[in-house]
Symmetry: C2
Subunit: 340 residues, 2 copies
């Protein structure tokens, strides 16, 4: 485990702070947009050569220290029997949605090597090509359930919460199915060569801590406990009030959005976990001076502690200039001791 | 100041906890939907008789303890020269947007009695009709600026933040203009009979506390300091990390969303301010049993402290059943000592 990124995840000494970006492969890249003119998103996710190509592209272009598998969190859920479409400008749409015990009958537990072999093939492709570690990933049960129950992206997750509160039995069946499936999915990615995993609970910040601990944490914890031997990163946007709880779910690295300064986050979760974050993605759209101040602000809050993985506090925005993102990588290297 | 709601805002003794709901007038009501078939939203906002009728409707129907003026936060901004349209399913759209010092030249400071006389007429109408206090309201400068700069609703407020960080001079001019205008707007509503005011900074939770204190608080504070003699409520969704800062802006009553339990919120802001909140709006869509538990959970966290105004943690959801909302009012009365 000599790699810089992996050492930081383990809170081991590093010669400089490693950096990667959530959604570092995507619409802000001209090369990605060109590829998307010829291929649908799901087609890219399901074609190992294309997924590997998209995954590797930002590593060379930006000089980041890790790759993250290009995919959509709903790809394995579609393979479990949900009817998935990715609608431009809207996101993943599930039609019909899964809202009742009966609807649950349409889903089966994921068998990764049989249901989504192309994902493991993509992982192997990237690992062969790349000198950097690959981060495997999966969506966490609450976020996946929200797409299934709402039938797509949501502002308020009202149907999901109503099911969670009103019908604990169906909720438990749905969350258990998703948890066991995603644990198997991450284990298969690790077996294929992923050196770390990130469990994305993108929308779980919509819950209070009490609801999170009662209705979500046990299922996320089951996944994280089921993936051993590699660093486990756990992240959701707007989860400043859940940081301790997401640590308790079993994260080795807690992802922090830009709303919680890293020094305060560490005070709360304790210094025996690593933190990942947390530049505001909008800062990359500001003037070079303002961007520079923001990057230094994140590094100052991290204070040179062991166990800092530099990242944005959410995904790269589509209107981002790749050159500005590259300048963030250079700034992090300059300020933390490496050559730019 | 004998009124129950006003006493709770001042942390004076009350015989039971007062209750009202953000967006208690709106799409979830069949009567409102019927009215909207014949009149546009802006037409209702600009017609005193219609605005007064919509404002008063939920008071009788739900038995709440206060009315809140029915309007849109962008109505006064349109009267300042911004080109506003309310687009069904999207929200307020400003086209062209206001993104530069030049664009700012299109806006003038609001003169409430000249620019939006219909608002004060609506306030007078409601106050004459109603036995309950009327809450006047305005949008806070950050939220208003976000609509102007983005040109409509946004997920990430990236252009707004980029302007805020990159061009402090233009940001100051824009925020000062909005602050002085909204202070005048709220004073005019109070002069017309509003018994309290709420300053909505709906989207300011997108900022870190540091950015909030540097770039937003001074302007919101200018408004709150400019409105005297009535309780000042201040609220934004997802502002759990900003509660102390929003108190420091000069709120008498801090609105809390459902993510922060009221006992923890009071521990942080101190017991010399009142709190408003904070039932998850999605709870009203759950089973009666789950809803009852959630209401009691909020009341337990409030712990019978002086200065609790019961509300949702955000606006009423459009899919809400009016009868379920009415049952919340009854539950609050039963559990806090009044007759249902």
């Amino acid at each position: 485990m000599d790699d810089l990124f992996l050492r930081a995840c383990r809170r081991a000494p590093v010669e400089r702070t490693p950096v990667w970006f959530m959604r570092q492969a995507g619409r802000y890249q001209p090369e990605y947009r060109a590829l998307r003119e010829r291929h649908g998103i799901l087609e890219i996710c399901r074609t190992p050569e294309l997924a590997a190509q998209v995954t590797a592209l930002p590593v060379a272009q930006l000089g980041v220290d890790a790759a993250i598998l290009f995919s959509d969190i709903m790809v394995p859920v579609a393979a479990m029997g949900a009817s998935l479409e990715i609608v431009e400008g809207r996101g993943p749409v599930i039609d019909p949605p899964v809202r009742s015990a009966d609807d649950l009958g349409r889903l089966h537990a994921l068998e990764p090597d049989g249901d989504v072999p192309f994902v493991m093939d993509a992982v192997r492709h990237v690992v062969e090509q790349l000198g950097h570690p690959l981060i495997g990933f999966a969506g966490a049960p609450f976020t996946l359930a929200s797409y299934l129950v709402e039938g797509g992206p949501s502002r308020d997750y009202a149907r999901t919460k109503a099911l969670m509160w009103s019908d604990p039995g169906t909720w438990d069946r749905l969350m258990s199915l998703l948890a066991d499936s995603m644990a198997a999915y991450l284990r298969a990615q690790v077996a294929a060569g992923a050196a770390a995993v990130q469990l994305f609970d993108s929308w779980v910040g919509a819950l209070s801590e009490d609801d999170y601990r009662r209705c979500v944490l046990p299922y996320s914890a089951r996944i994280l406990a089921g993936v051993e031997g590699v660093p486990r990163i756990h992240f959701g946007v707007g989860t400043g009030h859940l940081l301790e709880a997401m640590r308790d779910a079993g994260a080795d690295v807690v992802g922090v959005d830009w709303r919680t300064p890293l020094d305060r986050a560490w005070k709360r979760v304790g210094e025996d976990v690593a933190l990942q974050g947390n530049l505001d993605p909008a800062a990359v759209l500001a003037s070079p001076e303002a961007l520079g101040r923001a990057v230094v602000g994140v590094l100052d809050a991290a204070g040179g502690r062991a166990g800092h993985v530099f990242n944005l506090g959410h995904g790269v925005l589509p209107s981002t200039d790749p050159a500005a993102l590259r300048s963030v990588v250079d700034l992090v290297r300059e300020h933390t001791g490496g050559s730019p």
